[in-house]
Structure formats: structure tokens, C-alpha cells
């Protein structure tokens, strides 16, 4: 910080750079899509790795369209601000990956093109209906579903065994009992981190419990963060937190370096995460290869297979493109063409929303996840057997919701208050935020 001309100049500089970029954003003009010599040039943004390979395949078979794929950084507060700033600057990509939870937020900024006029419904039957529904708003359709993120339980079976647990928890009651057994292994050993500021995994647990935070009633949003079902989920975690059975240290929250280290050293024994979480664990806990296993999400009612989703993405066409027809053609090709899907499944690691491609994802056992089954589990199969509940929707101001929830949960944990006591305040903040933008919103309960 501070105290120095250099520092002061640097901070003035950063303010100026931000201000200037906004200024230039407003002055800038002209889209990225252009055509030269009959060839339509398109830009495609995603935070997946192998997108250039897919674009090359498309370009090889489409001589009149040339797609330039650019991999973007994916961190929270990086990708979406960049996309929205680019739209504002008139310099947006023609096609971009947008996660499901952001679709209503982008639609409320007028940032996505309705794909219905470009033949979207012709391929509807090829996709997971639940994922398709997340892209459908008020009769319009805003992006082809790429991958889906049902939640399950990744667990380190070696630690569970050491704690005397032979099979993964089938219900949340069993999960709470296992949390106790695992913490008995040592005061630094926990069944899981409780990540207060990462909100997606927690919302998916409410989704699983049958809550519906963001629904619509006619021309108004109904914000229902404080329902009996949400209170039930909060009370469950409050119980574990008050007994000190989950790691609430904010430096050990999901994706933090401390958390990576704890996974690798066996002091955090499991992670409630979506199907894409397999890649995260393999990347972060390489030393524990073979010890991990995956189970369906624990249930409120024994025998059910219910789950909610965390993340998952679609491919959308961005407002302002000069070539919406060609952009829509690429988006559709990207998620229906077998070659593209093969790269997505085998190299990027999608749990694809394209149903035919999903079959191919369900065949290979992964030796990293050999904790409960020698030779490894077919990880995607565990998630495929779950029942992703329908009916959950996302709000038109996701970033604000994430902030409200993260902030209030964080405050609760710091000050030893219950999560349950924060729910009414979170609900009110969301309603106030929406109404201040001129959007109708009422309280659900």
C-alpha cells in the first residue's frame, strides 16, 4: 500500500486505467465479426482448454466461416466482467461460453441473442431437457447446453476407512455422524471445508432439498431464500459448524491454496462438488491418487437419488454480432457435431448435455478414483444415476446474490451466528437490489 509517491501514482494510475477503459469502452465501436472475401470471421470465447482444436475442425469443414477461438481466464470476477465490458465496448466475441447460472443475468443486460429463429428447436431432442430448460426463458432460447454439473460426494476412502467408515454416507444424518468420526482422527482433520464465500455448491444443496430461491409469478420474481426447506439445509450445517466438525477457516475454503494442500495431505476428507470437480481433485491432490471415490449426494430421505447442480455451461451468441446466423450455426455445430463433442468429452472432460455424447462419457473407469472399487470407478456414471431435480431457476442479478450470501455467511461464521439467522437478510437484500433496478420482486416466505 501507501506512503510513497510510487504507490500513490500506482493507485491513481490504476483508477485512471479503470476509468479510461470504461471511457474507451463507451467510445469504442465496431464488432469483432467481419467478413472479408466472402469469408465470415467469428470470435469465440471460452475458458475451456482445447477450444482451438474444435474451432479448427469447424473451419476445415466450413470454408465460408472462420472461427477464432480464444481461451480466457476463468476465475470469479474475471471472465464475466470481461465479457460484459467487451459488450459495452462493442468489441464482444460473437460466440461465448456462459454458465447456466449467469444466463438470466446476461439476458437482463440484453447481452444474449435468442436462438429460436436460427433453428434451435430442430436439435432440442438431442439435449438433456433439464439443461435445455435452464437456457429457456420466456419462450426464448439463449444457448446450447454444453455440460451439466450435478452434485455428488467426492471422498477420500482411505481416510473414511481409517475413521471406521466402510461405505459413504447415504443420508445427511449419516454424513453428520461420519463428520464426527473423521474429526476424531485429529483436531486438524475434517470431513469437509465449509466454504462460506463460494455460494454455488450451497445453492445446489438447497436445490436438492426442493427449495426454489428464484422463481417467477407472472411478471414478478419471487425470492424465497428463507423457506422451510432452506432453513432445514442451514440448520444442518449450523449443527456441524457449532460442533466444529467442518473446517470453517476461511483460508481453507474451496479452491484456496490451503484447501488444495489439505486435500493432498488428507486433512480434508471429502468435497461436495459437481461432476466437473473430478478434474479439480485430480489436479490438486495428485499424491492421493487411488484413494478417492465418488458417491451420490447424501439424501434427506433415504432411498432417494435427488441432486442439484453447481455450474454447467452453455454456448451463447452475443448481442452485437454482425453475423448472428453464422454464429448460431457454429454454436449448434459445436455441441452437436460428433468430432467436437469427442474433444469436449475426452480432452476437456465435459459431462455433456448432449445425450448421445453422454453415452460415450460413461464407459471409462478412472484409476484415480479407485478408493472403493479396484481399477477405479466410472465417475460420470455415478452422476448419471442421480436425479437432477427440475424447477430451479437463477436470478437476473447473480453477482449481487453471490455477494450478499457470501458476505452474510462469512459474517455469521466470524461472529458465531447461525447461517439460518442470515437467510431473511439475504432475501431482503436480493429483493432490494432487484427493485432498485426497476425489476419486480416479492418475498416468497
Amino acid at each position: 500500500m501507501q506512503h510513497t509517491p510510487r504507490r500513490t501514482i500506482a493507485s491513481i494510475g490504476s483508477v485512471v486505467v479503470v476509468a479510461l477503459s470504461l471511457f474507451l469502452a463507451a467510445c469504442g465501436g465496431g464488432g469483432s465479426g467481419s467478413s472479408s472475401g466472402g469469408v465470415v470471421n467469428l470470435t469465440f470465447w471460452s475458458f475451456n482448454q482445447q477450444i482451438t482444436e474444435q474451432a479448427d475442425k469447424f473451419n476445415a469443414t466450413h470454408p465460408n466461416i472462420h472461427v477464432t477461438a480464444i481461451k480466457q481466464p476463468s476465475g470469479f470476477g474475471q471472465y464475466y466482467p470481461k465479457v460484459l465490458a467487451a459488450i459495452k465496448a462493442g468489441d464482444a466475441p460473437d460466440v461465448a461460453l456462459i454458465e447456466y447460472q449467469y444466463v438470466p443475468t446476461f439476458v437482463s443486460k440484453g447481452a444474449l441473442v435468442d436462438l429460436t429463429p436460427y433453428g434451435a428447436n430442430d436439435v432440442k431432442s438431442q439435449f438433456d431437457p433439464g439443461a435445455w430448460a435452464l437456457e429457456s426463458i420466456n419462450g426464448a432460447f439463449y444457448g446450447y447446453p454444453q455440460d451439466t454439473g450435478p452434485e455428488g460426494l467426492f471422498y477420500n476412502a482411505a481416510i473414511f476407512k481409517k475413521a471406521g467408515i466402510t461405505s459413504p454416507p447415504k443420508t445427511w444424518d449419516e454424513y453428520a455422524a461420519d463428520a464426527k468420526k473423521i474429526h476424531a482422527l485429529g483436531k486438524n482433520v475434517y470431513i469437509s471445508a465449509f466454504s462460506a464465500t463460494n455460494t454455488g455448491w450451497y445453492q445446489a444443496l438447497n436445490w436438492q432439498a426442493g427449495a426454489n430461491w428464484f422463481s417467477t409469478n407472472g411478471n414478478s420474481w419471487v425470492i424465497d431464500v428463507n423457506s422451510a426447506k432452506s432453513q432445514q439445509v442451514a440448520a444442518f450445517w449450523d449443527n456441524l459448524i457449532s460442533q466444529g466438525l467442518v473446517d470453517t477457516n476461511s483460508a481453507d475454503g474451496d479452491f484456496q491454496p490451503g484447501w488444495n494442500n489439505a486435500l493432498d495431505h488428507g486433512t480434508i476428507a471429502s468435497w461436495i462438488s459437481a461432476v466437473w470437480g473430478q478434474g479439480v481433485i485430480k489436479g490438486n491432490a495428485a499424491d492421493t491418487k487411488g484413494q478417492w471415490a465418488v458417491a451420490p449426494l447424501p439424501q434427506w430421505t433415504a432411498g432417494n437419488k435427488d441432486t442439484g447442480a453447481w455450474g454447467g455451461s452453455g454456448i451463447s451468441v452475443i448481442t452485437g454480432t454482425k453475423h448472428p446466423k453464422e454464429a448460431a450455426e457454429f454454436a449448434q455445430w459445436y455441441l452437436t457435431n460428433p468430432d467436437s463433442l469427442k474433444i469436449g468429452v475426452n480432452e476437456i472432460g465435459w459431462y455433456p448435455s448432449n445425450l448421445q455424447a453422454r453415452q460415450t462419457a460413461l464407459t471409462t473407469p478412472d484409476p484415480f478414483f479407485a478408493g472403493s472399487q479396484s481399477g477405479g470407478q466410472i465417475v460420470d456414471q455415478v452422476f448419471a444415476n442421480e436425479n437432477l431435480l427440475s424447477g430451479w431457476a437463477f436470478p437476473p442479478d447473480l453477482d449481487a446474490v453471490t455477494n450478499f450470501q457470501g458476505n452474510d455467511f462469512n459474517t455469521a461464521i466470524t461472529n458465531h451466528l447461525s447461517l439460518a439467522s442470515q437467510l431473511p437478510a439475504i432475501q431482503n437484500q436480493i429483493i432490494n437490489d432487484l427493485t432498485s433496478q426497476g425489476i419486480s420482486a416479492t418475498a416468497g416466505s
Binding site: 501507501q2 466482467p81 417467477t216 476461511s250 483460508a251 494442500n261 466470524t414 426497476g438
Partner: protein, 322 residues
């Protein structure tokens, strides 16, 4: 002197036509001479206007607008409308802004005196003739300043993260509970530690340089009058470098109000640093991450005014005091 008077005397009175015709060149250069400084300033002014005044003005203008929907679900493109002071009302009535503001004030009240005190003590030690290894100490105290702020924060973040910190490992090997550097009640002090580490040496060097400019005769006469080395420091050195002290304090005050880099980097390591932790982080979070350029602009403008008022008040106070 004499030649100059002669020249002035020799030049004819203004308005004499013949004289103007006879000496056109000096007349022109005289009448446009006011222009020259500005011409030399032009490169600076162009950059200053383009990169400071214009963006700042644009931000302020934007702060009077907002994206609005008009009822319904808000799933159609919004309109950008003039909202007057609504963004300012919203920002000023948000307790988060004031909590962040109180946090940086608390930070400044504790961290600035510690850092300036240390810097002054080290500068005095360095200036006293008895210090050996002066160059070594000067360099080692100054080196942290050469480390970019973001890198310094990453470096210290490594020391603070419980599961990877070597400090925590030492504690554990002694069977002690390692301190929680990144907890909600400790993280501000941890940031203060980084700032002190970074900028103590810089301030020390400024003070030390100012001491070098004190005339040696003062010390001689002080010693003849029987003043001890401590007395010299107390009654000569510190008062003589008070302009440098004041400058250092002013920069520290401004830097504190703008606290951003260190908490922004540590935010990736702990949830204790909220999106509203400091006013600057709050403005960044609203303006960039939440894409509300309009409200973000209002917060930035408010912070600009507050910083200006604080700096101005500080200068008035210290000028009166000296």
C-alpha cells in the same frame, strides 16, 4: 545591470510604427513569450487530460446515470437513464462503505505511527556516526520497497496460509497452535505488517536523506553547548526534517485511504477479506465485478472527495503546527 537598463532605455516606446517595422522579430517573440511554457507543457497536458481529467470527468458523469428496467422480470435490455444523485444516495446509505472506511482509518491509526516511528528510529540510527555496516543496513531496509506491492502480498500470503506456512510449521513442531494470520480479527494486522515491511525502508531513506542536508555546524555548536547525541536527535534532527516527516505522513494517509493491492491479493487466500473490505475494493467490486459502472463511479467519486478533504485537512493542521 547597466546593459539591461540601457537596452530598456534604448527600445522605443510601444506604438511607434517605425520602430515596430524596424524590429519585427523581437516584438513578435516578446508578444508570444507567454506561450512558450505552455508549449513545453503541452505533451504533459495532453497525456494528463487524456488519461486523468477525461476519464475522471467521464466517471463522474456516469455516476449520475443507471441501467434501469421498467417493471416486470427485467429480462429485456435495460435503459440507461439519468438518476441524479440516486447512486450517491445508495452508496452513502450503504453501511458497507462506512465499515470499509472505518477499517482503513483504524488501519491508518495503528499502522502509520508504527511504520513512521520505525522509519525515523532507523534513519536516526543510520545517521549517527557510530553505526557500522551502514550501507548494508540501508540497502537491506530499502530492498522490500523494490519488490512490487502485489508480489510482496503474494510472498506474505505464503507465510500466512496455515497449511503451507513455514511459520505455522515451526509452531506445530513445537506442539503449539499456529497463529491464524488470515482470520477475520487478525487479517487487518497481517496486511499492516506487509505494508510496514514494504514501505518502512522507503520512508527511512527519505528521512535519512533529509538529515544529510542538515548543516554540520549545527551539530558542532550543539556539542560545544553540551548536547548529547540523543539530544541532538531530539532537538535538531527531528525538527529539521519535519517537512520530510510531513510529506511521508501525507503519502501514507492517502495510501491508507486507497488500500487495495494487499487485501485484493490476500482475498484469494481467505474469505475474511470481504468484497467490501476497503472502500477501493468495494468500488472495484461494484464497478468491475458486478458491472455496475454507474454506482461504482459514484463510490469512486465519493472516495476521491474524502481523500481530498483528509489530505487538505492534514496539510492545514500540520502547517499550523509548524
Amino acid at each position: 545591470m547597466a546593459t539591461k537598463t540601457e537596452l530598456v532605455a534604448a527600445s522605443p516606446p510601444a506604438g511607434v510604427v517605425t520602430s515596430r517595422a524596424a524590429k519585427p522579430r523581437p516584438r513578435i517573440s516578446l508578444s508570444f513569450s507567454w506561450l512558450w511554457p505552455y508549449l513545453f507543457l503541452l505533451p504533459f497536458l495532453i497525456v494528463f487530460v487524456a488519461f486523468f481529467v477525461a476519464p475522471f470527468a467521464y466517471t463522474v458523469i456516469q455516476s449520475f446515470y443507471a441501467e434501469k428496467h421498467f417493471g416486470g422480470l427485467g429480462l429485456t435490455p435495460p435503459k440507461v437513464v439519468w438518476v441524479g444523485f440516486d447512486n450517491y444516495k445508495q452508496a452513502l446509505s450503504n453501511p458497507d462503505l462506512w465499515d470499509g472506511f472505518k477499517r482503513v482509518i483504524l488501519f491508518g491509526l495503528i499502522q502509520i505511527p508504527i511504520m513512521m516511528g520505525l522509519a525515523l528510529v532507523f534513519a536516526l540510527l543510520m545517521d549517527s556516526a557510530v553505526t557500522r555496516f551502514r550501507r548494508f543496513f540501508r540497502l537491506s531496509a530499502f530492498i522490500p520497497y523494490a519488490v512490487p506491492g502485489v508480489v510482496a502480498a503474494i510472498l506474505w500470503g505464503f507465510f500466512y496460509t496455515p497449511t503451507i506456512s513455514p511459520i505455522a510449521q515451526i509452531f506445530r513442531s513445537l506442539n503449539l497452535n499456529p497463529p491464524d494470520f488470515l482470520g477475520a480479527s487478525t487479517v487487518l494486522a497481517s496486511i499492516g505488517n506487509i505494508s510496514t515491511w514494504e514501505f518502512m525502508g522507503y520512508n527511512m531513506l527519505i528521512f535519512f536523506a533529509a538529515m544529510q542536508a542538515i548543516p554540520q555546524e549545527l551539530y558542532e555548536s550543539a556539542r560545544i553547548d553540551g548536547l548529547t547525541e540523543v539530544g541532538i536527535a531530539r532537538y535538531i534532527k527531528v525538527p529539521m526534517i519535519s517537512p520530510a516527516l510531513r510529506l511521508g505522513l501525507l503519502f501514507s494517509l492517502i495510501g491508507t485511504l486507497q488500500l487495495f493491492n494487499e487485501p485484493e491479493v490476500l482475498k484469494g487466500l481467505t474469505g475474511a477479506i470481504t468484497p467490501t473490505f476497503t472502500p477501493n475494493i468495494y468500488a472495484y467490486n461494484i464497478g468491475i465485478i458486478q458491472n455496475n459502472y454507474y454506482l461504482g463511479g459514484a463510490i469512486a467519486a465519493i472516495m476521491g472527495v474524502i481523500t481530498f478533504v483528509f489530505s487538505f485537512a492534514f496539510m492545514r493542521l500540520t502547517q499550523r503546527a509548524s
